[in-house]
Symmetry: C3
Subunit: 339 residues, 3 copies
């Protein structure tokens, strides 16, 4: 499994600086690369390693012009180029052979597509329909009436509550719970009344959901995750939330009930989005922000409460200028003989 | 399954504006209602849909006075009224038939009440006592010495550590872990010493706990969740915490060790409450607040660090007034010929 | 199971004030202690209980000089001393007898050390090696190629993805997922590209990880948790993160991708640490902080964005001084006849 730098450049649509015949035998991080390795520079913070690295070749941004002993492969997006070579040098493990583990507990009327893999100790309730090529990991629970499209994967210990609808090529990681009741409680005098949660969760094609997330069913309509959206670990998606296509939600973020996110939105880690809000397409919400009002398409917000990122930065600068303002007030007071 | 508007008004104790003989055949959200549907207006943000909705009737607040083509049913609390009609039009699925799945692994001395349901691949350790009408979902783990009252429900993949005590009509959603060790670690020189965690978790009647929560056992005494308290997903309750009756804790909130919350408290999403604090009855903690001191009964707090909500709002206004203050200082300096 | 105060003082290396022959028959919290009980004073907030307690003896700090009716045992660290007596009066439950539950699904080539305990409905994939004395709780999933050292414990419902490496005397609590894919997604035009996640998670000896955490595998190298580090519940450790020895990470905290923490660091609850950062040894990060830049060894930081704790405190004081500054500006304007 070796390639020359020239061959790699062709595969990733890049230009070579240095010896195109250099032979690449492995792949690694720039800090720990060994002779013969391919590596990449994805973040300017790591540029300092470039002069020390033992790597044979480094994938760098196309505007890169720092001299290096290693061969350089210049590309538009080094991380994506590196990712494609990673898939080459470290191929994914083989798909498990199709088959149903004899310890799985499967209701008689369940429909299983061709080439499905059902792991040990899985539970599948009645009226479930699973598409072809689906992989159900060990100890998964699939409730009554669930639908799963083709070529999706549920990792061990996933829970799908009844009526959950999963599209094609979806991947859900271990411990994630989809379709539990929304948090619909109303105070009434001294007690608390529960609003029934009768909707579903619908997850479109190519969605990926990390470990130990919680995605609640809708109250009446459905909670909906749009095509190609990627969700990290420990994320909370509340009832009736609508998330558009190709959003990214990072770890420990949460979206409260009935909010809707258009497509292409990026939500960083530990962000909270309040309920009944509308976030416009391609908005970017910085880490730990608390979003408490609607946001226009394309806005970049940060802070608590969240505001346009430039305003939030100015606000921090303003706060840090208070001692200087106090000093200027003091000087004026001194000049005027006040107090 | 149809009702007239007049019949519904009687059921929800409301008054009718419009035709009381209108026949209702379904139920839906105001944005997506079809002819014959009942819907509701629970949040003023959705008032704009009232003129467009195809719904046959809308449940509205009793002080509502906007004209609408649909029949209106005026009630004190539209959401609660709607919830009760939701239970009528979309009845909960039938309770599973009593019985013990043959794949469950149950210690011989376990006491099971009448009409219990034990799902497939459940594990129940010795010395456990489960009340009548309890439903144990698939793949649940119940540790040694656990007690569960009558008519409680554990959803698939719940974990109850040994000695956990669960009351009557409690509902715990999938992935939640109750009774793991509290985080009792003390630094000592270069290393870290663990304090044994020997208490239990006690959960009173009618508590509901969402998905993927973590509720730790007490160090010596017990962690305690009071009657009727409702907890959302991904919530952390640390060791020795005492939560009073009818509290509401929203998603991703956390209460640190040994803090006590009186009854009727509302904790919004992503709130953190530090350890060894006391929060008075009926306090309200706004989303993402960081509570670092005791709070009096009935207080409404927000911010980081949390303070009375009106103070927090004034503080934000003060911060946003800094540019104006700077300008006023500049004007004075100009007038005085400073710098 | 009784001891005299003098015997206890010897065991915890303390000095006695009061009657050394007092007999201790139990152990409890200071608020609820009964006659014959040993208790402790670990937090000055609880000093008020000292005059009311019915305890026979109280472990207190060595500089303690308040009169009490109970015997006092003065020690350097009351919590650690109390912890050791807690282990005496409330011994841990017996270790389960070695053996493999017949319902476990174990690949034929798995290597099991002496005296292992494998609970019911466990799944262990091929090429796994488990050391002596390991306890695998019910319903655990262990993926292909995993290595577990001696005397480690996995509680029920833990998930270890393939290739995870666990050291000796490690304890992982229920619901935690180790080794799921890192969140490696890059936007490219209208879509999102996934970077393969081919590294592992390596967990060193004596690490403890709470319930429902998520620890992602590395992209290329490994995610690494150093010896003796203790992690609370619902914590997120992203891909490629390196955590040094004897760190403490409290509940709901998160460390983003490729950040490295040296040894001895304390991370309080709900903290977020951004990606690609370096945190120096023994730093302390206060609750809910948002760390967005490198931190030097020994720094104490708080706030959002995090800054040195004294600066953060001054900043809060500065913000709260704005009304006073406004008033002083107004007085100057009045004196000068402005506006």
């Amino acid at each position: 499994m070796t390639l020359t730098v020239a061959q790699i450049a062709t595969l990733v649509n890049g230009h070579v600086t240095g010896d195109p015949d250099t032979v690449i035998t492995g792949i690694s991080e720039i800090q720990s690369a060994q002779a013969g390795d391919l590596t990449f520079l994805g973040n300017p913070k790591y540029t300092k390693y470039l002069t020390q690295t033992r790597a044979a070749a480094v994938i760098v941004p196309s505007n890169f012009n720092i001299a290096a002993t290693a061969a350089l492969i210049l590309v538009d997006n080094p991380i994506i180029a590196f990712g494609s070579m990673l898939a080459y040098f470290r191929p994914a493990p083989d798909r498990p052979a199709p088959g149903i583990d004899p310890t799985a507990v499967i209701a008689p009327d369940v429909h299983l597509g061709e080439d499905v893999v059902i792991g040990p100790l899985v539970v599948i309730e009645p009226d479930v329909c699973i598409g072809k090529g689906v992989i159900i990991g060990a100890q998964v629970f699939i409730g009554r009436g669930v639908r799963i499209g083709n070529d999706s994967t549920l990792d061990p210990h996933v829970t799908l509550y009844p009526q959950t609808q999963i599209g094609n090529r979806v991947h859900i990681y271990s411990g994630t719970v989809v379709g539990s009741d929304g948090f619909g409680f109303i105070r009434q005098k001294e007690t608390i009344v529960k609003i029934p949660q009768t909707g579903r969760v619908i997850i479109d094609d190519e969605v990926e959901i990390g470990a130990n997330c919680a995605i609640d069913r809708g109250t009446l309509g459905d909670t909906h995750i749009g095509q190609g959206t990627k969700i990290d670990n420990l994320v909370q998606i509340a009832h009736n939330v609508k998330i558009g296509p190709y959003c990214i939600l990072a770890g420990q973020s949460g979206v409260a009930g009935s909010s809707s996110l258009e497509g292409g939105i990026t939500v960083a880690g530990q962000v909270g989005i309040s309920g009944h809000l509308h976030i416009g397409a391609n908005a970017i919400i910085a880490a730990q922000s608390g979003v408490s009002k609607d946001e226009a398409p394309g806005t970049v917000v940060s802070g608590y409460p969240a505001q346009p990122h430039n305003d939030a930065r100015k606000e921090i600068a303003n706060i840090r200028s208070i001692p200087e303002l106090r000093q200027r007030i003091k000087s004026i007071e001194d000049k005027l003989g006040i107090k």
